[in-house]
Symmetry: C2
Protein backbone atom coordinates (compact mmCIF):
# COMPACT_ATOMS: atom_id res chain seq x y z
CA UNK A 1 0.00 0.00 0.00
CA UNK A 2 1.91 3.02 -1.26
CA UNK A 3 -0.30 5.81 -2.57
CA UNK A 4 2.13 8.71 -2.36
CA UNK A 5 4.02 8.12 -5.66
CA UNK A 6 0.67 8.08 -7.51
CA UNK A 7 -0.52 11.27 -5.81
CA UNK A 8 2.79 13.04 -6.52
CA UNK A 9 2.61 11.92 -10.13
CA UNK A 10 -0.91 13.39 -10.50
CA UNK A 11 0.10 16.75 -8.99
CA UNK A 12 3.26 16.93 -11.14
CA UNK A 13 1.48 16.05 -14.38
CA UNK A 14 -1.42 18.51 -14.14
CA UNK A 15 -0.76 22.21 -14.64
CA UNK A 16 -2.20 24.24 -11.75
CA UNK A 17 -2.65 21.25 -9.42
CA UNK A 18 -2.69 22.18 -5.71
CA UNK A 19 -3.18 18.85 -3.96
CA UNK A 20 -4.27 15.25 -4.49
CA UNK A 21 -5.63 12.82 -1.89
CA UNK A 22 -6.95 9.32 -1.47
CA UNK A 23 -10.02 9.71 0.75
CA UNK A 24 -12.62 7.52 2.32
CA UNK A 25 -16.33 8.33 2.14
CA UNK A 26 -16.12 9.12 5.85
CA UNK A 27 -14.20 12.27 4.81
CA UNK A 28 -10.87 11.09 6.21
CA UNK A 29 -7.84 11.41 3.93
CA UNK A 30 -5.76 8.23 3.77
CA UNK A 31 -2.81 9.98 2.09
CA UNK A 32 -2.28 13.48 0.65
CA UNK A 33 0.28 15.21 -1.50
CA UNK A 34 -0.08 18.98 -1.31
CA UNK A 35 1.91 21.81 -2.85
CA UNK A 36 3.22 24.40 -0.37
CA UNK A 37 1.20 27.24 -1.97
CA UNK A 38 -2.10 25.41 -1.34
CA UNK A 39 -1.81 25.97 2.41
CA UNK A 40 -4.32 28.79 2.91
CA UNK A 41 -7.23 27.20 1.06
CA UNK A 42 -8.55 24.94 3.84
CA UNK A 43 -8.85 22.16 1.33
CA UNK A 44 -9.19 19.49 4.01
CA UNK A 45 -12.33 21.13 5.41
CA UNK A 46 -13.88 21.46 1.97
CA UNK A 47 -13.13 17.84 1.13
CA UNK A 48 -14.89 16.51 4.22
CA UNK A 49 -18.05 18.26 3.00
CA UNK A 50 -17.55 17.00 -0.53
CA UNK A 51 -17.02 13.41 0.68
CA UNK A 52 -20.38 13.58 2.42
CA UNK A 53 -22.10 14.92 -0.69
CA UNK A 54 -20.35 12.40 -2.93
CA UNK A 55 -21.64 9.58 -0.72
CA UNK A 56 -25.20 10.85 -1.16
CA UNK A 57 -24.83 11.19 -4.91
CA UNK A 58 -23.48 7.68 -5.15
CA UNK A 59 -26.52 6.20 -3.47
CA UNK A 60 -28.84 8.50 -5.47
CA UNK A 61 -27.30 7.39 -8.76
CA UNK A 62 -27.51 3.73 -7.84
CA UNK A 63 -31.29 4.00 -7.79
CA UNK A 64 -31.41 5.64 -11.21
CA UNK A 65 -30.94 4.42 -14.73
CA UNK A 66 -27.98 6.67 -15.41
CA UNK A 67 -25.62 4.22 -13.70
CA UNK A 68 -23.03 4.45 -10.94
CA UNK A 69 -21.38 7.81 -10.34
CA UNK A 70 -17.76 7.59 -11.51
CA UNK A 71 -16.70 11.25 -11.35
CA UNK A 72 -17.86 14.40 -9.59
CA UNK A 73 -16.54 17.92 -9.94
CA UNK A 74 -17.27 20.94 -7.74
CA UNK A 75 -15.90 24.24 -8.99
CA UNK A 76 -15.76 27.53 -7.13
CA UNK A 77 -14.33 30.87 -8.21
CA UNK A 78 -10.90 29.95 -6.85
CA UNK A 79 -10.61 26.15 -6.86
CA UNK A 80 -11.64 23.35 -9.22
CA UNK A 81 -12.15 20.02 -7.40
CA UNK A 82 -12.29 16.72 -9.26
CA UNK A 83 -13.26 13.48 -7.53
CA UNK A 84 -12.96 10.03 -9.07
CA UNK A 85 -14.21 6.77 -7.56
CA UNK A 86 -11.53 4.20 -6.72
CA UNK A 87 -13.61 1.60 -4.88
CA UNK A 88 -16.95 1.57 -3.02
CA UNK A 89 -15.08 2.94 0.04
CA UNK A 90 -12.43 5.24 -1.43
CA UNK A 91 -12.01 8.01 -4.00
CA UNK A 92 -9.32 10.28 -5.42
CA UNK A 93 -9.61 14.07 -5.03
CA UNK A 94 -7.64 16.58 -7.05
CA UNK A 95 -7.73 20.32 -6.36
CA UNK A 96 -6.67 22.73 -9.12
CA UNK A 97 -6.33 26.48 -9.38
CA UNK A 98 -9.27 28.03 -11.27
CA UNK A 99 -7.01 28.43 -14.34
CA UNK A 100 -5.54 24.93 -14.05
CA UNK A 101 -5.74 22.29 -16.77
CA UNK A 102 -9.15 20.75 -16.01
CA UNK A 103 -9.24 18.36 -18.97
CA UNK A 104 -5.80 17.01 -18.14
CA UNK A 105 -6.85 16.60 -14.51
CA UNK A 106 -9.86 14.48 -15.52
CA UNK A 107 -7.68 12.35 -17.77
CA UNK A 108 -4.90 11.80 -15.21
CA UNK A 109 -7.39 10.87 -12.46
CA UNK A 110 -9.05 8.38 -14.80
CA UNK A 111 -5.78 6.57 -15.54
CA UNK A 112 -4.56 6.83 -11.92
CA UNK A 113 -7.69 5.37 -10.25
CA UNK A 114 -6.97 1.74 -11.31
CA UNK A 115 -3.35 2.09 -10.11
CA UNK A 116 -4.52 3.28 -6.69
CA UNK A 117 -7.17 0.53 -6.60
CA UNK A 118 -4.39 -2.02 -7.15
CA UNK A 119 -2.65 -0.73 -3.99
CA UNK A 120 -5.71 -1.06 -1.73
Amino acid sequence: MSFLPHLESVVNQVEGALACSVMGFDGIAVETHQKPDAGDLELATAWVEYANVLGQLKSAAEMLKTGTVSEVSVNTERVLTLMRMVSPEYFLVLALKANGNYGKGRYVLRITAPKVRAEL
Copy 2:
Protein backbone atom coordinates in the same frame (compact mmCIF):
# COMPACT_ATOMS: atom_id res chain seq x y z
CA MET B 1 -39.16 35.46 -19.55
CA SER B 2 -38.33 33.10 -22.39
CA PHE B 3 -35.82 30.41 -21.56
CA LEU B 4 -36.57 27.95 -24.34
CA PRO B 5 -34.49 29.57 -27.13
CA HIS B 6 -31.44 29.54 -24.82
CA LEU B 7 -31.99 25.88 -23.86
CA GLU B 8 -32.47 24.85 -27.51
CA SER B 9 -29.31 26.75 -28.44
CA VAL B 10 -27.30 24.89 -25.77
CA VAL B 11 -28.57 21.46 -26.89
CA ASN B 12 -27.92 22.28 -30.56
CA GLN B 13 -24.39 23.61 -29.99
CA VAL B 14 -23.03 20.76 -27.86
CA GLU B 15 -22.31 17.41 -29.53
CA GLY B 16 -23.99 14.56 -27.62
CA ALA B 17 -26.34 16.82 -25.62
CA LEU B 18 -29.51 15.07 -24.41
CA ALA B 19 -31.38 17.78 -22.54
CA CYS B 20 -31.01 21.18 -20.93
CA SER B 21 -33.14 22.71 -18.17
CA VAL B 22 -33.51 25.77 -16.02
CA MET B 23 -34.17 24.41 -12.52
CA GLY B 24 -34.83 25.75 -9.06
CA PHE B 25 -33.00 24.45 -6.01
CA ASP B 26 -36.28 22.87 -4.98
CA GLY B 27 -35.68 20.38 -7.83
CA ILE B 28 -38.50 21.68 -10.01
CA ALA B 29 -37.67 22.36 -13.66
CA VAL B 30 -38.87 25.76 -14.86
CA GLU B 31 -38.31 24.92 -18.52
CA THR B 32 -36.72 21.98 -20.36
CA HIS B 33 -35.59 21.22 -23.88
CA GLN B 34 -35.04 17.50 -24.35
CA LYS B 35 -34.04 15.45 -27.37
CA PRO B 36 -36.40 12.58 -28.23
CA ASP B 37 -33.70 9.92 -27.69
CA ALA B 38 -33.17 11.02 -24.07
CA GLY B 39 -36.55 9.64 -23.05
CA ASP B 40 -35.55 6.46 -21.27
CA LEU B 41 -32.93 7.96 -18.97
CA GLU B 42 -35.22 9.28 -16.21
CA LEU B 43 -33.26 12.51 -16.24
CA ALA B 44 -35.92 14.38 -14.31
CA THR B 45 -35.64 12.03 -11.34
CA ALA B 46 -31.86 12.27 -11.31
CA TRP B 47 -31.97 16.05 -11.47
CA VAL B 48 -34.21 16.35 -8.43
CA GLU B 49 -31.54 14.47 -6.44
CA TYR B 50 -28.78 16.59 -7.92
CA ALA B 51 -30.64 19.82 -7.11
CA ASN B 52 -30.78 18.76 -3.48
CA VAL B 53 -27.06 17.94 -3.40
CA LEU B 54 -26.18 21.15 -5.24
CA GLY B 55 -28.05 23.15 -2.59
CA GLN B 56 -25.99 21.52 0.14
CA LEU B 57 -22.72 22.09 -1.68
CA LYS B 58 -23.61 25.72 -2.17
CA SER B 59 -24.05 26.29 1.54
CA ALA B 60 -20.95 24.19 2.34
CA ALA B 61 -18.80 26.24 -0.03
CA GLU B 62 -20.09 29.51 1.34
CA MET B 63 -18.52 28.69 4.69
CA LEU B 64 -15.16 27.89 3.14
CA LYS B 65 -12.36 29.95 1.67
CA THR B 66 -12.68 28.39 -1.76
CA GLY B 67 -15.57 30.70 -2.66
CA THR B 68 -19.07 30.20 -3.99
CA VAL B 69 -19.81 27.10 -6.02
CA SER B 70 -20.29 28.12 -9.67
CA GLU B 71 -20.31 24.74 -11.41
CA VAL B 72 -20.93 21.12 -10.45
CA SER B 73 -20.62 18.02 -12.59
CA VAL B 74 -21.83 14.50 -11.81
CA ASN B 75 -20.77 11.83 -14.28
CA THR B 76 -22.00 8.27 -14.47
CA GLU B 77 -21.10 5.54 -16.93
CA ARG B 78 -23.89 6.61 -19.28
CA VAL B 79 -24.58 10.30 -18.68
CA LEU B 80 -22.48 13.40 -17.98
CA THR B 81 -24.40 16.09 -16.07
CA LEU B 82 -23.19 19.67 -15.89
CA MET B 83 -24.82 22.23 -13.58
CA ARG B 84 -24.09 25.95 -13.64
CA MET B 85 -25.43 28.53 -11.18
CA VAL B 86 -27.68 31.21 -12.69
CA SER B 87 -28.85 32.96 -9.51
CA PRO B 88 -29.14 32.06 -5.81
CA GLU B 89 -32.45 30.33 -6.67
CA TYR B 90 -31.88 28.86 -10.14
CA PHE B 91 -29.33 26.84 -12.11
CA LEU B 92 -28.84 25.40 -15.60
CA VAL B 93 -28.49 21.63 -16.06
CA LEU B 94 -27.11 20.00 -19.18
CA ALA B 95 -27.11 16.22 -19.72
CA LEU B 96 -24.73 14.73 -22.26
CA LYS B 97 -24.05 11.24 -23.53
CA ALA B 98 -20.89 9.75 -21.98
CA ASN B 99 -19.01 10.41 -25.24
CA GLY B 100 -20.44 13.93 -25.64
CA ASN B 101 -18.31 17.08 -25.86
CA TYR B 102 -17.81 17.87 -22.16
CA GLY B 103 -15.49 20.85 -22.62
CA LYS B 104 -17.88 22.49 -25.10
CA GLY B 105 -20.74 21.84 -22.67
CA ARG B 106 -18.91 23.66 -19.86
CA TYR B 107 -18.14 26.57 -22.18
CA VAL B 108 -21.66 26.91 -23.58
CA LEU B 109 -23.24 26.77 -20.10
CA ARG B 110 -20.84 29.48 -18.90
CA ILE B 111 -21.82 31.87 -21.69
CA THR B 112 -25.52 30.96 -21.49
CA ALA B 113 -25.93 31.50 -17.72
CA PRO B 114 -25.83 35.33 -17.93
CA LYS B 115 -28.39 35.29 -20.79
CA VAL B 116 -30.77 33.16 -18.73
CA ARG B 117 -30.16 35.36 -15.68
CA ALA B 118 -31.23 38.37 -17.77
CA GLU B 119 -34.59 36.67 -18.45
CA LEU B 120 -35.39 36.00 -14.78
